[in-house]
Amino acid sequence: MTSQSKIEVAALRKCFGDLEVLKDINLSVEPGGVVALIGPSGSGKSTLLRCINLLVVPDGGRVRVGGDSFAFGTGTRLPGVKELARFRANTGMVFQHFNLFPHMSVLANVMEGPLTVRGLPKAKAEPLARSLLAKVGLADKADAYPNKLSGGQKQRVAIARALAMEPEVMLFDEATSALDPELVGEVLAVMRALAKEGMTMVIVTHEIAFAREVADRVIFMRDGVVVEEGPAQQVIDAPREAATRAFLSHFHKRGEAPAATA
């Protein structure tokens, strides 16, 4: 764990009532690094991701993104709403169900963060938003409302909206799981381009082939612990742990094996 890393999570713990969802999680992501989180449903992937931007407040451990760091647990003070908001403004998050603002146009969705949080004047926020919409291939949808878009388009708007905060890191929580299969590709293409540009990303995904191709490292979680972690191709092609092998075998059977072995 060097001090050079962009994201650092140390000894992270989270309980919901009696259920211990994260047990001593350690994780660090280099600047420009892409980490894929995989694991069965209920293993704590979303909770871990939400702890990284403090959408869920951990019970113990430390979370650092860039230069902002918070410690949790006994003897620490819980961050106030302003500190939390400032911390989150520096991390972009993309949700499985998009969560676009339905009462705002696509352009207004993307401008919301810059206007309300960063306090940019409209004259600056609008060109920024338009350039990001162009980047995700939706320049022509600026005036549309979210309910007129396909799922793939909605998710690309959501990515543009998160990027408009010019965050240091991007977090993706099953960004393609709610999409019809034919719409998955366009969203993955945007994520792939972001990774190429050097964005630091943590991706929760069931797209194993995509994880193998785009991620530098893969973390396999089960029951709130990291079972296996390593270079993407090694973990996916030659997992060391039996649990990882068992989990990945579902995907191979479903024909989602990496292109190299298909």
Partner: protein
């Protein structure tokens, strides 16, 4: 067989129009003040600060669970004795009806706010918005759309409730009608005409609400 004579009512037209003016003005005042009260109570009920939420609940339940007429009489007769604060019948009426309306508006507004998907709040939080910004820019605009028909319904009820202030001698439509009825010895005609005036004022509003509800059903 009763012999109707509506011609006589016409001589009281200015008196009744005066009363209608007071009723409409009064309704506007208690709807606006009630909405302010209701919004404040709804936000307080949703607040994480327990004593505030508890206080708001107590207010809502007290005013929802006691008859409006009792509240009116209490504010006008009992409160001055207990607190020494004297108020005109008009002030007592506005106060009681606004607080009463506010307790119902509060539940409608709270219901509208909690009906908005939690993901909307999370999206705002993820952008770094503050809770008040999320409420104002994300949640309330969406909730408002759903709240408008029930709020309109409640306001129609408030319009009718204003007739109760006639017991405090506030010169509203009903009170002026009573004056005219005594004066003319024609209560049947006058109360019938008053009923018709209330109906003509409110029926178009109910149609508007129904249209709004239908439009909501198609866009949601």
């Amino acid at each position: 067989m009763y012999h109707w004579d509506f011609g006589l009512v016409w001589t009281y037209r200015w008196l009744l129009l005066d009363g209608l003016g007071v009723t409409v003005g009064f309704t506007i005042a208690i709807v606006v003040l009630g909405l302010v009260m209701g919004l404040a109570a709804a936000l307080a009920k949703l607040s994480a600060f327990r004593p505030l939420a508890w206080l708001a609940s107590a207010y809502v339940e007290v005013f929802r669970c006691t008859p409006l007429l009792v509240q009116l009489v209490w504010f006008y007769y009992a409160m001055p004795i207990l607190t020494g604060i004297e108020m005109s019948a008009l002030t007592a009426g506005i106060l009681a009806l606004s607080l009463y309306g506010g307790s119902f508006y509060a539940e409608i507004i709270r219901g509208g706010i909690v009906s908005i998907d939690r993901g909307q709040t999370e999206a705002g939080e993820a952008l770094g918005m503050l809770p008040a910004q999320i409420m104002r820019r994300v949640v309330l605009p969406q909730a408002l759309k759903r709240m408008v028909p029930p709020l309109m319904n409640q306001s129609i009820i408030q319009f009718k409730n204003t007739s109760l202030v006639s017991v405090l001698a506030v010169p509203d439509l009903l009170y002026q009608g009573q004056v005219a009825a005594h004066d003319s010895y024609r209560p049947l005609e006058l109360y019938t005409v008053i009923a018709i005036i209330y109906f003509l004022a409110l029926f178009p509003l109910t149609l508007l609400v129904r249209r709004g509800e239908a439009r909501l059903a198609t866009t949601d």
